[in-house]
Structure formats: structure tokens, C-alpha cells
Amino acid sequence: MKGSRHGSTKENGENAALGQASGHTMAVDLLIRELEESLGQDRVRADRIEIGLFSGDASTFDLGQAGLVCMPRTSSEVQTIIEACNRHQRPFVARGGGTGLAGGAIPCGERPVVIALSGMDQILEVDVSARLAWVEPGVINLDLTRHLTPLGYHFAPDPSSQQASTLGGNLANNSGGPHCLSYGVTNAHILAMELVLPDGSVAMIGQDGGDAVGYDLRGIVVGSEGMLGVATKIAVKLTPNPPAISTLLASFPTVRQAASAVTSVIANGYVPAAIELMDRNAVKLIEDFVHAGYPRDAEAVVLLELDGLEAGVTATTKEVSHLMTGAGAISVRCAADDAERMLLWKGRKAAFGAISQAQPDYYLHDTVVPRTRLVEVLDEVYRIAEKYELMVINVFHAGDGNLHPILAYDAREKGRLELVHQAGREIVEASLAAGGVLSGEHGIGVEKQAYMSLMFSSIDLAQQDLVRTVFDPERLSNPGKVLPTGATCAELQYMNHVPDGVWA
């Protein structure tokens, strides 16, 4: 136990909380002191710059304001923070890499304590015989796969943010990625976890093998966006690296034909490891940015990967190539070696970065539609973009029907962001009208909270809220997300009027 009152945050004169919020100062002082004594002064931050850094995430939403940032290194420290939050009735938000696009890690409500988990980044155990690893939540997705590569394994979910997003964040969002088409999303790859509940108690849920005992608490926590507790140790499934991989790039004269080709592949009983579709705008930007070797004259390209044993991959490559050609592909190219394969994927993964060449800002959407409705929903996406005179770039997980229309814009142009949000709502509505869902991998966060009632009835939402009540009756864990409540709207309104420097 160490630390003097307020420590470094006060010494540098930038403590955002102290001395300004009249009614709560004493309680806030006490909370800070308790946390500093437990974690040390250097891991309890309240200066304005760090508060600002941890008040947003990779989304376009600028609604959050953190009250304090804590940087635990152990499960028991997380527990200590949450227990302190309970004593002081202060909400808290766990955070990984901050790469979420739906505002799930934005601190909403009464200036929550942000629990920054990126320092809990140890791979605790790798057991190849059990095909599992225990990791801390701050381990970066790609770091785990790099660690496993020499052993012949990888962690299958591979979100585009995998160089920065953490396993804890992947768990909270039930993250996807291109290769989830055949391997499944994060929920299928989380076996068990140690969970600090919102009241500070600790549960071990799930199993590292065998049947679930009791209700599948593990399953409901994965994808719950940090509203049911904070995972502090996670058991993940290891996936063996495939002996053979074949990566195809097919170019098409129209987006419709490319989308039809994707539907045709699935309808004919093939389950590739990944099928990605990129439209003309995307191809141009990617080529200018990383020179991935995509054909510039194509209206759309499909990047398709097959993996498995040698004979099956070889035969399926021929069959799928034939299907693509039959669907109107101008050309179908198979990566000749690993270098070419990596280059083709580099193009896909660099797509979001490439957008900055066109516009300074972009809004990345995420809906899922039945694969057989891809063509018509894409038509509607282009129509909506044209209506609002917005540049749209389509780069998405076509095999899953997971659309990612990117609306590129310049936020400095007055009223532009409002148009982007309006167009976004229409894209969501078009996806739902086609039998789709609100989100395939980004989650609801604050972005789509208001749309939940478009997809779910009041009865459905009340059932989901019951889960929240069971896990977090005090509504302290990541408040103001996912479930649309009157209180949430009020919180957001309230937040917009909290002046800087006040931790109310």
C-alpha cells in the first residue's frame, strides 16, 4: 500500500475531478485515495489528457467522459477497483485496445472509472494437448497467434483490428473477422473465463472441457459488451494451422455479379475459410495505398481463401474458380506462393487505412443480411449513398452476408456527419427489411442502441434486460449501452452538459 492523497495527479495540477464538483468532492477524494493506496499513484490517472484519451474509442461518437483511469495488473486489482466503485456507487467501464467501432468502450453516465486492461497482457498457459490457452484480457489478438505459430496453432477470430484489439475486447464484442466464415466467431473459441462480477465477486464460468454445468453463463457474457462483468482470465481454443491454403482473387465487371458469385459458392455447398468482397472504390484506394495487385479495371473483386488438406483444397480451388467464371468473373487468379497470398490479404486489411486518401473521416457500418439478399441490399446501399451524395466504399465479409459499407466524408463540412448518420440509419433499415440483423461483429454499443427496437419487441428487450438485472442490478458495469432505456438517453443528454474538469 502506498501513496499520498491524490498523488501525482494533483501535483501536476491537472486533476480533473478535484475541488470543482461541490457536492461530491469528499466522496471522490475518498475513492481516488482508496484506489491509489491499492494500485499505487502511477496506475490511477485523473489528469485531463489521459481522461481525454480514455473518453473515446475508435467510433465517431464523442459522448463520453471518463472520471478516472485505473490500470490494474492483476485480477485482484480489478476486483479491488470494482469493489471501490460499488462502495461509492460509481459506474465503471472496462477497456482493451479501444478499437471498437460502436462506442462500446465509451464511458457513459456519471463519469465512470475506466478500467484499462491493456497492462494485463500475459499469456498464462498454452496447453497443446488440450488445444487451449489461458490468457489475460489485455493480450493483443495477433500477439497470441504469433505466439502460437511455432506450435502449429492460431486463434481463429481475426478482426481487422487484430494488430491492436485485445482478447478481452474480442470477448466483449464477440468479434468476427474474415476467417470466421468457416471457423466461427469468438463465442465458439472461448471455453471459460474468470469473471469479476459488477458487485466485485469473482466467478469461474465455463469449462476447459466437457459439458456446461448449469446455464451457459460463458455464452451470455461473450458479446455482452462489458455489461455483465469484467473477464480477467480467459481460456481460448487453439485452432491447428491448415496444411494447405489456396487464395483466389476474382475480378468482376459488376458488383452484382461478384455478390451473385459469392451466393453461388455457398449455395453449391462450399464453405471457404473466407470470402471478402471489395468494390471499385475500395480497389482503387487499396491499390494506390499498398499496391496489392488488385485489378484496377474491375468493378469488384472477390478474395476467397480455401484451407484444409492438400487434395481437397486443390480440387475445390478448381471447382470454385469454375463457379466464379460461370458467375461472370473476368479473371480468377490463385496466389502462387505465400508472399503473393500475404500481399492479397495486406490489401484487404489495409482497406480502412487507405480511405484516408479520399476523405479525412469515415463511418464504417456493420449489418448482416441473408446471403441470398446481398445483391439487392448492396443496390440499396449505393442508392442511399447517392441520395445523400456520400462516397461509399464496400469492403466486407461477403461469405457471412456481413456488410461493411464505409461512408467517407469530411467532418469539417458543416452538417456532413448528420447526413452520414441519416444514411446509416437507412442502411440499417434496409438490412432489417431484408431479414438481416443490426450487427455482425461490431456490437450495439451506443451506435445502434436506438435501433434495437427496430429488431426486437418490447418483450424481447425486457428479457435481455432481465439478464442485465441478474448480473448487475446496480447498473454499474458499462452503463448506457446496448439496451435502449429512457435512462440512457437522459444520461447522454446529461453528459453533453458536464463541463470539462468536473467529475460530478
Partner: protein, 347 residues
């Protein structure tokens, strides 16, 4: 990868949904909102999770394959549908789901999901919980509720499908589900070989199983009995042939079928299934790679963290405050709560 298939045999999409909506409403009305009620499927696992209250009203979920969507790799099916009927409908389009394949003819989709156990192909297809994309269910208040969606990927709100699978109908009664289907592989081949061996140096690990999993890329099933090891290879004919040839050098030979799973299930850490089977002291068929041993006799009581157990009880209290849904059933029946002091350890 599967061969091409026809989708000509799936039900028409004409007036079936209207009829189906009426069936769901009728099911909700039968469940009601007041009296104790038991949902009955094929009663093939009736002895699990406590004892059903015989005085409660009895209802059955709607039965029928509503819509087979091979091009989406999805199937919409009533919970009261026999597994066999579902398997036949999917077989016609070259697909399958991960529910137990060798089930009793009476077993239903809803029953299999209420129990939540995987079958012989769990190593390849995963547990049933991973294949439920959408669920329509009747709440304890007699209302129709839905979670998930008819797509293969979805993170829209809390996923109630997860809680309902394996809940033994104690939180709500499943009326209808959308399941993810997968292509039936071009070739399937069971092989049988010598039993597993326990390495005296590291007895906690099934050495042979580890080497089998290293030798084979992705076997569809590994089943261990006290005296034999069964492997199911699936995929392209040449790949199956090549892997079968490799196994032949280790004493494996083709066989028409693998063993049937036994009635009782024991959970263990993945990779330790054979050891757990031997330790059970009775006849067993272990599911390699998934941490499950099936046996002729009940095993030790499963353990559950005391805080997790408390969460289980609170879920039941909130979703079914009067305890009217499947009275007598308890997902914690026969479990042992672990000392909270053990928490913080990895396993």
C-alpha cells in the same frame, strides 16, 4: 467441401409461415401464464436435471421443418420436430446440423437443445449451442419472445439463445429455432485401431490422443473405448485415403461404424478423455478432444463455482419467479459447488 446438391425437396415457402405463426400462438396459449407446466419432447433424457413434477400441465412444442435454406446453410424448425425428421430434410439437400446424429427416433430438436449435449461429431461440428442462430420461445409469462436472427453471424444484443440451450426448459420453452447447417462431406470413413495408452511419465495427458491429433489435421471424431480407438475421417476422397493410409501404419483399419455413446456423461479437461474414462472404472466411450466421457454409470458430481451457482439461481428467480416452467427440473441438480477459496486458480 461438399458435392453439389439439389434444393428441390425443401418445403414451399407459401402459406407455411402463416400456419406456423398460428402454431406458435397456440403453443404460447397452452403454456399460459399461471399454472405449473412441463414441456415434453421425446422423453429420451427424462432422468436428467432433477425429476419432473408429474402434477404439472403438459405441453409440446410445435413440430415440423418450417424452411430449409441450403443456400443460406440455415434451417428453421419447430422445437417439437423429431431429430430424425430434421436429419432427413437436411440430408435431401446435402446438409446436416450438429445435434446428435445417432439419437433415439423419439428425440426432438427442442429436447436436444434443452439438454445441450453434443453427439459423436462434436469435435468437428462443435456443441449444439454454437449452431443456434435464432430462437423463438415462450416466457414464464406466456409471452412469445425472440433472440438472434436468421443469419450466420449476429451480435445484436444479449444472446438469449446461449442461455436457453442446456437450460432444460427452466427459463422458457423453445418453440422454434433457426439452426446453422453444414454440408455433408463427400466421403466419411470410420477406422478402428488399438486403444489409447497412458504415458507413465505424464499420466495426466493422453499421449496417443495428442499424437493422433498431431498426425491428423482435423478428424471429425475421435472416440476411445477401454480397448479400442475409433477415428472418423471426412472430406475429399484423396485426403481421407491418405490419412487412412497413415493410420494403417499404426494398426488402424476401416470399420463400418463407430461406437454408440453411453447414457451418462463425465466432463474432464480436453485432451484427458481417455484418462478420465479409465479413472471412471466402468465401461466408457470417450469423445476425444472435447473433454467428455460417456459411461455406463454416473460419474462424479460435476463441480460449479459457488458464485456461478448463485448466478444460476438468480437467473431462474428472475426469468421464472413462480417456478412454473418445468417444475422439478434444476440445472444445478447433482452438482457440487466449489469452495470459493478455490477461485483464482486456473482450473
Amino acid at each position: 467441401m461438399a458435392p453439389k446438391h439439389s434444393n428441390s425437396n425443401h418445403p414451399s415457402k407459401g402459406d407455411l409461415p402463416r400456419t406456423w405463426a398460428a402454431q406458435t400462438l397456440a403453443f404460447a396459449a397452452a403454456v399460459g401464464d399461471t399454472r405449473p407446466v412441463t414441456c415434453v419432447g421425446g422423453q429420451t433424457h427424462w432422468s436428467l436435471a432433477g425429476t419432473a413434477d408429474s402434477t404439472a400441465d403438459r405441453v409440446s412444442a410445435p413440430s415440423g421443418v418450417v424452411d430449409v435454406l441450403p443456400e443460406e446453410m440455415l434451417v428453421r424448425v419447430g422445437a417439437g420436430t423429431p431429430l430424425v425428421e430434421l436429419a432427413q430434410a437436411l440430408f435431401a439437400v446435402g446438409q446436416q446440423v450438429c445435434l446428435p446424429q445417432d439419437a433415439d427416433p423419439l428425440a426432438t430438436v427442442g429436447g436436444a437443445l434443452a439438454v445441450g449435449h453434443g453427439g459423436r461429431l462434436q469435435l468437428k461440428l462443435g456443441p449444439p449451442r454454437d449452431s443456434v442462430m435464432e430462437v423463438t420461445y415462450i416466457t414464464a409469462q406466456g409471452q412469445i419472445s425472440k433472440s438472434g436472427g436468421p443469419v450466420v453471424k449476429n451480435v445484436s444484443g444479449f444472446d438469449m439463445c446461449r442461455l436457453l440451450v442446456g437450460s432444460f426448459g427452466t427459463l422458457g420453452f423453445i418453440s422454434e429455432v433457426v439452426l446453422r447447417a453444414t454440408p455433408i462431406p463427400a466421403v466419411s470413413q470410420w477406422l478402428v485401431g488399438p486403444p489409447q495408452a497412458l504415458d507413465p511419465q505424464t499420466p495426466e495427458v493422453d499421449q496417443s490422443a495428442t499424437s493422433l491429433q498431431t498426425l491428423l489435421h482435423a478428424p471429425a471424431s475421435l472416440l476411445y473405448t477401454p480397448t479400442q480407438t475409433y477415428v472418423l475421417l471426412e472430406g475429399h476422397a484423396m485426403d481421407v485415403k491418405n490419412e487412412a493410409t497413415m493410420l494403417g501404419t499404426q494398426g488402424f483399419e476401416p470399420v463400418s461404424q463407430g461406437p454408440t455413446l453411453l447414457p451418462h456423461r463425465i466432463s474432464c479437461r480436453r485432451g484427458q478423455e481417455y484418462r478420465a474414462g479409465v479413472d471412471s472404472g466402468v465401461d466408457f466411450v470417450a469423445l476425444g478432444g472435447v473433454g467428455v466421457v460417456t459411461s455406463t454409470h454416473p460419474g462424479p458430481k460435476p463441480r460449479i463455482d459457488s458464485v456461478a451457482a448463485s448466478l444460476n439461481r438468480r437467473l431462474k428467480q428472475h426469468f421464472d419467479p413462480t417456478g412454473r416452467m418445468n417444475p422439478g427440473r434444476d440445472v444445478l441438480a447433482g452438482t457440487v459447488e466449489t469452495d470459493s477459496a478455490a477461485r483464482g486458480t486456473l482450473r
